[in-house]
Structure formats: C-alpha cells, structure tokens
Symmetry: C2
Subunit: 353 residues, 2 copies
C-alpha cells in the first residue's frame, strides 16, 4: 500500500486536485484494483455483491475512469472521427447530426474534421488521429480508392456517400434516383439534359454522371456533361452559363448549392425556370425549399445515413479484423418535386438582358 506514496510529478499548474483512481476505490471497497477495473469494464465477470460495493465506493469518492489510462492499455478510445470533405456544405449538417446522436447514444465521442476539399488534409488528419480514435467515418472522401483501402487496412473505416470495393459504406441510393430524375424530365417533354459535374475527384460526381447518362439513353434523351464545378452557390454562375451553352433544357446540378447558384444566374439572365429550362439538384437541403423557384431535388434522409454509418462502424470495431463485415448499405433516395421543373416552353431561350 505504500506503493502510491511517492511524490507525484506536479502538473504544470496546481489546477486540478488530482481525482480519485482505482486505487482509492479499491482501498475503500476493500478489493483489488483489478476488481475495480472489472466492475467498470466487464460487469459480467464479477460478483454481483462485489460489484455493488465497488460502485458504491466509486460513487462516494466521485471516481471516474480516466479515459487515457484506459486507452493506453486497452487500445480502445470510445471515440470516432468523422471527416467531411467540406464542412461548408449544409448537406453534411444532417450527416453530422445523425452521426453525433448515434455516437452519443453509444457513449462514444465524435471528433469532427473538415478536410476542406483537400485529399492531403484528409489523409494528414486521419494519420494524426489514428491513435486517438477507434474508427473513421469518411464522408464524401476525395481520396483515391487505393489510399482508402490502405487506411481501411489499419483502422475500422466506413465510407459515407462513396463506395469503394471491399470497404463498408453507406450511401443514399442514386442510380435509381437519377433514373427517376431523368424520367421526370423526359415525361415533362425534355429531350436533352446537361449534368453540371462536381469536383473531379468526387466519386459521387462520376457515379451520378454514369447513372444520368444511362438513364438518358434509356429514355431517349441526349445527355452531356459540363464542368467540373466546385459545388457552391458562388460557382453556379459559371455552371449556368455552361449549361445554357449546351442548349440542353434539363439542367441537373451536382448538388443543391450549385443548383441554387444556377437559379440565380438564370434569373439574372432572364432565363425562365421552369419555362425555358428546368433545374434539379441533389441533397434536398433546407434551402432547396426556400429558394425561388423552389428546387426539385433528389433527397434522402441524410441524418439516417450518419446514424447507419456509425452503427456499422461500431460493429466493425467490435469484430476481429478478418471477420469484419463489409456491408454496402444504400438508403433510399426520394425525388422531391417542386417548382424548378416543368415543361420546356416553345419559346426559344434567349438573353433579354
């Protein structure tokens, strides 16, 4: 018992009156430290009565396990990292919200990282956090697949809104969604669509374009792609101009932000929506219902995506590496019809400015 007497190295400031440890609890409860440990970490492998005694002692002392000491030996941190490609995009809001809530419910802590659209920052931060978290949620990663596979070899990872062969992922279904989108446009009488593409290294951008092209072929529309564009409102101007130039009457923007920017530019150029052209977006962000005209968009319950991703990650953490499940979940999307789509008028588009 004299063991714990030696002078402690002081923390820099005598700020914190050092809190009770398992030793204090053990002494008070009259058990070994390992028993205290078990009472907290493996409640199954300890006698009911002993456990109660330990818990009492702990409460009386105001004992709380030290997460770092715990992590140091057990290598479990009870922390998850979510790295998003661009925190500026409201779309991620929902994702983050869902993930945070699910993590909290599981008594996990959620660390948030903004990769600022940079694959380098993304990797750097994953690297930096690799010892601090139990697993990663990689949302809309801009990383080449090979790097992701490497990361996944070292840590539990679940991809969000991106699929990589061999890795767990949660996406909102978009192949069928894009089909519906194109079908909707076709049924309105459009014969041509343009996809205003997202970032060049965006898996989603490639994936959506493929789906749109296929659907267009199926419905007998011509489809072209313009861009890539940074999917923000600000870049909607250039995107709109590019769209007009293609002569297509169906404009499919990479996301709602870009679509809203397109809408603005179109209004400035006196191109009527949906009279002259129709515009659709992706994500169904809050603002899509507020802009004018209100935006038709492919939505999906993104909070659920965040939630599901955390759930899968948690399972993955609990499982031995080789038995680790690699589910590819696709949550349903839903085409939300609003006012930015309609039949293209017979009047040719022209610039009234």
């Amino acid at each position: 018992m004299g063991k714990r007497l030696p002078k402690l190295p002081m923390s820099r400031f005598d700020d914190v009156v050092s809190s009770p440890t398992i030793y204090d609890v053990a002494r008070r409860a009259g058990v070994a430290t390992s028993t205290v440990s078990r009472a907290f970490s493996t409640p199954g492998r300890i006698g009911e009565a002993t456990r109660a005694r330990v818990l009492d002692a702990a409460r009386e002392l105001g004992y709380e396990p030290n997460p770092h000491a715990r992590a140091l030996t057990s290598r479990r941190t009870q922390t998850l990292a979510m790295v998003v490609s661009d925190i500026t995009n409201p779309h991620f809001f929902e994702l983050i919200r869902g993930a945070e809530m699910r993590a909290k419910a599981a008594r996990y802590t959620l660390v948030l990282v903004n990769a600022e659209e940079s694959p380098r920052i993304e990797l750097e931060q994953v690297q930096r956090l690799s010892r601090s978290v139990d697993g990663f949620l990689l949302a809309a990663s801009r990383q080449p697949a090979e790097n992701l596979v490497k990361v996944a070899a070292e840590h539990p990872v679940v991809m969000v809104n991106r699929q990589v062969p061999g890795l767990a992922s949660v996406v909102v279904e978009h192949t069928e969604g894009c089909r519906q989108m194109v079908a909707h446009l076709a049924s309105l009488g459009h014969t041509s669509v343009v996809y205003l593409a997202g970032p060049p290294n965006s898996w989603m951008a490639a994936s959506r374009w493929a789906a749109i092209r296929d659907a267009a072929a199926e419905y007998g529309l011509t489809a072209v792609r313009a861009g890539p564009f940074t999917p923000t409102v600000g870049h909607g101007g250039a995107a709109a101009d590019a769209a007009i130039r293609t002569g297509a009457t169906g404009i499919i923007a990479h996301n709602d932000l870009l679509a809203i920017g397109v809408l603005r530019r179109l209004a400035d150029r006196s191109v009527r929506v949906p009279g002259d052209v129709s515009v659709v977006g992706f994500d169904d962000i809050f603002a899509a219902d507020l802009c004018s005209p209100r935006l038709t968009t492919l939505g999906g319950a993104h909070a659920n995506v965040g939630r599901a991703a955390v759930e899968i990650l948690l399972e993955s953490i609990g499982a031995p590496r080789d038995l680790r499940p690699v589910p590819e979940v696709a949550l349903p999307s839903e085409l939300v019809l609003r006012d930015s789509t309609g039949s293209p008028g017979s009047t040719p588009r022209e610039d009234h400015s």
Copy 2:
C-alpha cells in the same frame, strides 16, 4: 535494455502491429528516451544536433507520439470540446466551422457535442469529457449561470453567444444591433414591435428582449414580447399567430429559422410582408437570403466567433488558472437589409382566407 522484452499483453485482436515507441527511437538514435521525449515536446531544451538525430530516427521508423500516453502524464490532451445547444440550427454551422478550422490550425482536435437543448445532456457530456479535453466551448448554453461558473472553476471554458459574469465569452454584439433594428423599423414608420422570444432559458432571448425594449423606448415605439417559442421553422406558425394577435406591425423573431416559419404562416394567412407587417430575424443564415420575401436580419461573422472563441480558449489553457484572462469579446453585428421590412401599408391587416 532487457526491460522491454517481457511478453506484451495482446490486444484483443492482432489487428495492429504495434507501432514504434520512444524506446525504439531512442535506441536507433543512441540517446535516452527522455531525450526523444524532449525532442518532440520541448524542442528548446535540447541540443540542435541531438534533436536532428532523434527526428531522423523517428522519421525512419515512422514514429508518432501516442497521444494517450502523453495525456496520461502531461494531462494535456490537445483536444477541445464544443458543445452546442442544438446542432439542428444552421446558425451553429458557421460557428463550428470557424472553431474547427482554428483548432486544426493549432493542431488541436475538436470534439462536437449536441446538447439537444437539454441542460442535463449538456452537463452530462461536459462531465463525461472532462478528462478527455483541455477545455470547453459552450455555445448558447442553456445552463443556469451558477452551473457554468462551477464548470469554469474546473476547466478552461469560453462561452459562445452568451455572457456570464466572470467567464470568458465571445458574442456577436446585439445591443447596438437591436437598436439599429428598431431604428430601422421606426424610420419605416412602424410604431409597435413584437419580439417573438426564444427558449425560456436562453440568455440570448433575455438579452435581446432587453435591448429591443430599451431601443423601442428610445425611439418611441411600443414593444411587447410573445412566446417563448422553440426557434424552428415549424414553430413559426404559432409565433406568427401570436404576433398578429398583438397588433404590432414590426415583428422581430428570435432567429432566422423562426422568422422563416413566421413568413410562411403569414403567407398562408395572406398577410402581406412587408405591406402589412415587417419581419426581421437574427443570424443571417444562408436561407435568409433565399426565402421570400428575402429576410432582413441581424447578421455577424459567426465563423469568426468560433475562431475567436478557440483562440481565447487556447490562451486560457496555456495560462495558470489564476492569471487566466477573462475577456468578453463582442464581435460586430450587421443589420442586413432585405425585402421583409418596409413601411406598414395603410390598409389594415385582414385575413383573406
């Protein structure tokens, strides 16, 4: 050197090939472990040449300090927690974004917690994280001031968009902002305003009401308060009805979300904005520029608030407890004039439904 031979307790799964430690680096560089430690944590107190040698060895081995081991002895975690009252509110987006970026720049990790408008969850989470983070950013805390003082006695804390005597805080200036708001309404010819209040335990709500009331007195308007309302779009309906009932022509909603909900309800009831009544909000969220009519609102650079809060927190962490600065920073707000405010028409409001 035989020290490190004994069988290591295996991690549950032989997942991770245990990474190099200071021991490995020390051996390779031919120095003591303490020297390796110094090379990373106190670069000043070590010879230039030695340091270089250690760093080389570390690089060759791919060594990365283990944050938990570090935290265990040093009690510094390089992690900050940001707890927001309601992650659902886009307003916090900006705050979070600013905080994340500043934290990342300082090589700190940002943990995100959603208090879901519950003071209990708020406190619970602070408690839970108290050993895992170096300090707290408490955004729009719903906590009684006394509890906050207690928390701040135990950890570095900076309040965001809330002031508590004796605690560090960053807010966007609103007293003057409310004055401008009321002045704007007065100059338009309004003679009465109603404040649609936010949550009962919201400091902001109390603070804004006080400022509005004072400003109204100053400009000779009558001011009444209605509510409290949960400041979401969904609750805008009831808020609008309450506002109409007061007969005031100047409607000041607690935030943009509520204001947008009010706008909707007003449109449904065929109350013209700004013909019959004017509506103003707070925060200048993205959607405020998109709704119709576009919303006049009191904005401010919220990302800067997040950034500033992190900066202050970082300083606070570096300082001994009693010398800890307690700045109360107020960043400028800005009244953004848009289309939801105008002169009240002579036609009495009526329900055309």
